[in-house]
Symmetry: D2
Subunit: 330 residues, 4 copies
C-alpha cells in the first residue's frame, strides 16, 4: 500500500480522506490541520493519525500528499511537498492568481520534481468520460460547439464570496478546464455577460451569480458556458457536444431510476443535490489515479499547465465583464 | 368527394362525424339517430342533414355508412347497409356474441357484398404502427413475447357495466385484436386471472375491473395483457415486443414535450386523458382508410374475421375466469 | 366561411394553402403567383382559383390575404392589401430591412387599417406554448435565463444565401422573437460570436453558419441562442427557461414514442426532419388565429412592432459580429 | 472489525469476497474451497488466507461465514456454521428443495442459533428500494398490480441447466421473493405459461427459457412475472407497481447518462450487461447488512421463511406448467 498524508480537515478534506481510507491501494497515515479538533475527528474516522506538516514532510515513508488546505495555501503547500520529494494531489485551484502561478512556473515544471496532480473532478466523471471517449473516437466528426450547464443548487454563504476569487475563478474554472480538455485546441477569445440575480448582496460584495460565457477556439469552434449560483432543484450538470456528424449529450444523473406516474404527469427521481453526490465516483477515481501516478503507472491527467490555462480563462472572463468587450488570449 | 352517412349521434358518433367533416375526401351527408335532438345538433355542427335510416339506404348517392349506433344494433345495421349496397365502417365491436357473428358469417363473407371495415383504432395508431413496421421488417428477429398495458383512466359509469359485455368483450377486445395482429399466428390457449379492486359494485354487477390475461400462440410465443379500469393518471397505453434479436416498446405519448425541473425531481407532461385524445390520429386515419376502401384502393384492414377472432378470445378469457383453468381454442 | 386569397405558390405558400384548404372556417378562393404553372398546380390541389393580384384586391368578398410571396415583396404586398381593406397574414419576415420598416411605420400603425398578422411559428407551437403558459403562471418564479437551441437539419442551397439576409435576419429571427416574447422585457444589449464551420462557401458568400448570441435584458436576465445550419440528425429545437424557483424545458418532439432496445443501448424515434414537420401544428394554429383576427375575435399576436424588434436584434447581432463588440440597443 | 470467512471461490464467491475486502467493517480472514487453486487465487486478491472448513468452524474469532459454495451444499454448510455459532450469509437459494427446507425448519428456526441471512439481491437494490419506500409510504394508495420484467442477457451454459433446479427455482425465485416482499400479503394462487424459444436444447434438458407467471394474492391483487433467458441487449430489469392512486416504475439503469443524437434517432447508453454490474450496489449493501446483523444492530432482512416461501412459489409454478392448470397454495 502507498502511504500518504493529507493537509486539511475541512469539507473537501473529509471527502478525500474518507475515499483514501476506502481505497485498498492507499494507506492514509496522517491528517494535518492547524485546527486540532477537526484533524483529530477526521483522523479517527479514517484510521489515520494526526501530525504536524513538518513531520509529514520528514516521514520518509510518505510518498504522496493530498492537499485540501485553504485555497490560499495550495500553492505554498504544494511546493513544500514537492521539494520534500512527495507526489502531490492538490484540490483545485492550485492558485487563484495567474501571476503567482507564473512566478512558480519554472520550479513547478522542473522534471526532477515528483509529479503534481491538480484535481479537476469533471475529468474523472464516468458520464463525461463516456462523452470524451466517443468524441475522441470521432463519433460525431469534428467538434463545432460545446454547451456546458453548471448551476449550483444554492448560493454559497456570503462570507465565502470575498475569498472565493469570484464566480469565474471559483466555479466556472471547472468549465474552463472542461472546455479546454474537450475542445482540444487553443481558446483564443472569451466574452461574458454576467448579472447578479440570485442575491443582491453578492453584487454588493463585487461578484456576480449568473453568467453566460462564450469561448472561441482557434478553428472557430465555439463554447457556451452557463453558470448560476442557485437552481432550487439540485445540481444541474449537463453537457452537449455538437459535431459535423451528430451530437452527444450528458444529462443529469438521477438518484434512482424510479418514475412516478401521477395525475400531473410522470416524474423522475431528483438529481444529486450537490458536488459531493454528483461527482462521488469522480472523487474516488481521481484518488485512484493519484495512486497510479505515485506508482509511475500514469502521468497526472491535469497539473500545472492546465491550472494556469484555466485561471487565464477565468481572468479573461472577468476582464470581459469589467471592460464590456471580448478579450483575446495571447 | 365520397358521399357518406352516419348512424348514431352519441359520443363515438360525434367523434367520427367531426372527423368526416374535416376529411377533404368525404362528404358527410346524413346523420341518423332516433334521438332527433342529438341528430340535429350533430348535423348542424358537421354540415350534414338529418335523415331516417330508410332514406339513407335509399339514397343512391350514399356510398358508405359509418355505424356508431348502440352496440346491440351494430350487426343488424351493418347487414342492412351492406344489403343496400353501401360500404360499411362499423365501430367495434361488430357484435358482442360469437354465436350471432357465426350465424351471420355466410352472408357477411359473401364476396358480392360491399366491403365491411370494423374499426379497431390500435391498427391505425402511428406509434403502434411504427412498432408493427419494425417488427415486420425483422428488426428484433422472431417475436417471442408481447406485453400490452391497457389501463383506462377511470371506471365507466355503473349503468354501462351490464350492457358492456364485460371487461373482456368491451375493453380487452382491443388487446385481443392487437395481439392477433402483431403475433401473426394463431392463438391456441388463453388464461386469465381477474379481480375487482377498483369498485366493489362492479363485482356486484358480475364483472371484474382488473385482469391479467396470458395468451399462448402456436409457436409457443406468449402474450400478457394487463387491464385496469382506473389509473388516476390518464390513459396508460403501452406495448412491448421482445424478439430473438432485441425489443421494441411503445411508450405513453405525452401531451407536450415540456419538462419541469423541481426540487422533487424532473416531471414531464401528463398523458392524454382518454381514448379520444390518445387515438385522435388513429380515428382520423381509420376514416381515411374507409375512403380508400370505398374507392377500391385498399381492402378493409380489419373486418368480419378479425371481429370473430377477437370475440372468441374474449369468450375464452371469460370462460377461463369462470372455470379457473386455461382454455384451449379450437 | 371567410373568403381569403394567397400570394405565392412556393414552398411556404403550398404549406399555408393546404392548411387553409383544410380549415373549416376559411375559404381559400384565389392563388396569386407570377409563375402561372405553380399557381395553377397549387390552386388545383386546394380547390382554389388562380387570379391576378389586382383582381384579388378588387374582389370585395376577399377579407384576408396570406402573403407568402418572395421575401423582398412582403412589405409592398402587405401595404397593397391593407390599403385595399384586406386583413393580412404575412409570412415572416415583414422585411429584412429595419430602415424599410421604419419608413412604413406610420402607415402600418394607422389604427384605421385592417389588422396585420406577421406569422412567427414558435408563438403558435403547443410545446413552446405550454412552457410560456407555465412561465406566465409563475411556475418557476422570476425568469433569469433562457437558452434556445435552433439548429437546422441541413444548410440551405448556396444560391439562397445571398438573398437570405444572412443567418441572423433569416434564421435567428425566430429566436429573437421568441426571446422577446418569453423574456417579457426590453433587451438592452446583444453580443454574438459566429463562425463558418459547416460549409466554407457560406463564408465566401459573406455569411456564417454557426453562432452563439447572448442577449441581456433590462433586469439583467440573460438569453443564449445557439444556431447551426446543419445537424445531420434532424431539426434540433429545444428551449430552457431558468427561474428563481425552478426550470422548464421543451425537448425535441419525437416522431413516435417507439423505443428500440438494442445491444448498443435504447434508442428513440428520430426528430421531425425540418420545420414543416416540427411546426405543422403551429402552422395550422397560426392560420386559425388569422381567422379569429379577421372575425375580430382576437388581435394579431404578432405584427409590425414585433417584426421591427426582431429585425433590430438581428441587425445588432450582425453589427456585433462585424465590430467584435457587444451592441447596445437604444 | 468483524472477522469473517467465506466458503466458495467461484463466480459469486469472488464477487462477495472482493466486496468483503473493501468493506471497512469486515475482515475477511479465510477462503474455503476444495479447489485449492481457486481458493489461493481469491485469497491473494482479497488479502485473506486459505483454510479448511473445519478450521474455520473452529476459529473462535470468526463471527460470520459467507456461503457461496455450490448450491447443493448451501443448506448443509449453513447448518454446520450455525451449529458452530457463526452467523451465516448464504447466497440464494438456501436449498432448491422445499422438502429439504421443511426437514430443517425446526432446527433453523431455533431462536438460540446465530442469525441466518439468505441474500436476495433485489431487497438491497437502491432503485427497487426507492419504489418499496414510496409504496410503504402510501404514495400510490393500495397496491393492485405488480409487473416484473426479469430477462437475462444470454442463456446459461447448457451444462448448468440440469443442476439449476429449472427456470423457476434458479431464476424466477428472485421475482417470487420480490413479489412476496412488495405485495405484503399471502400469495394464494399461481399460474404459468412457459415455452422454450431461446434454445431448443434447453427443452431437451427438460427446462423452459421463456415464462409468464401470474400470482394472485389474498386481496385479489395480481402480479405478472416475465422471464426470458436471453435479450441480446443486456440485463432487462424493470418493475411496475400500480395502485389505487397512481403507479411507480423502476426502469433499467443505464451505464451512463450519455445520449447520442444520430440520424436514426437519439440513443442512450446501454444497460448493465448482467447481474454483477446491475446489482453491484445491492451486493455491497447486503454484505454491509450482514455486518449489522452480526453486530446485533439489525435482524436479517430475509432468512429461512422467505427462502421457503420463494421455493414453494417456484414449485407451484413448475406444477402449474406440468399440470396445465393454476395451483393453489395452502
Amino acid at each position: 500500500m502507498i502511504r500518504i498524508a493529507q493537509l486539511g480537515a475541512g469539507r473537501m478534506g473529509a471527502l478525500h480522506a474518507h475515499n483514501a481510507a476506502l481505497d485498498p491501494r492507499l494507506d492514509l497515515a496522517w491528517i494535518v490541520d492547524p485546527r486540532g479538533e477537526a484533524a483529530s475527528a477526521l483522523a479517527e474516522q479514517t484510521g489515520a493519525g494526526v501530525a504536524a506538516f513538518d513531520a509529514v514532510l520528514a516521514d520518509p515513508e510518505v510518498r504522496g500528499v493530498v492537499i485540501a488546505s485553504s485555497t490560499d495555501s495550495h500553492l505554498a503547500d504544494t511546493l513544500a511537498c514537492l521539494r520534500a520529494g512527495k507526489a502531490v494531489f492538490c484540490e483545485k485551484p492550485l492558485s487563484l492568481s495567474a501571476a503567482e502561478l507564473e512566478a512558480a512556473q519554472a520550479e513547478l515544471e522542473d522534471p526532477a520534481l515528483p509529479p503534481l496532480l491538480v484535481a479537476f473532478n469533471r475529468r474523472f466523471d464516468p458520464h463525461i468520460g463516456a462523452l470524451a471517449k466517443r468524441l475522441a473516437e470521432g463519433a460525431i466528426g469534428r467538434l463545432e460547439s460545446l454547451h456546458i450547464v453548471n448551476h449550483d443548487p444554492a448560493a454559497p454563504s456570503l462570507d465565502f464570496i470575498p475569498r472565493s476569487g469570484g464566480l469565474f475563478r471559483d466555479f466556472t474554472i471547472h468549465d474552463f478546464d472542461l472546455a479546454a480538455w474537450l475542445m482540444g485546441e487553443p481558446i483564443v477569445e472569451v466574452f461574458a455577460f454576467a448579472s447578479c440575480l440570485v442575491d443582491a448582496r453578492i453584487a454588493e460584495l463585487g461578484d456576480v451569480d449568473t453568467a453566460k460565457t462564450v469561448l472561441r477556439a482557434r478553428s472557430g469552434a465555439l463554447c457556451v458556458i452557463s453558470n448560476s449560483r442557485r437552481t432550487g432543484y439540485g445540481y444541474d450538470q449537463r453537457l452537449e457536444a455538437y459535431g459535423s456528424q451528430g451530437a452527444l449529450q450528458v444529462d443529469n444523473v438521477r438518484d434512482t431510476s424510479l418514475v412516478s406516474l401521477r395525475a400531473d404527469g410522470p416524474s423522475g427521481a431528483p438529481f444529486p443535490y450537490s458536488f459531493p453526490e454528483r461527482y462521488a465516483a469522480a472523487y474516488r477515481a481521481e484518488l485512484d489515479h493519484f495512486a497510479d501516478v505515485i506508482e509511475g503507472r500514469d502521468r497526472p491527467r491535469t497539473g500545472f499547465s492546465e491550472s494556469l490555462s484555466a485561471i487565464r480563462l477565468a481572468d479573461a472572463a472577468g476582464l470581459s465583464i469589467s471592460r464590456g468587450t471580448p478579450v483575446r488570449l495571447a
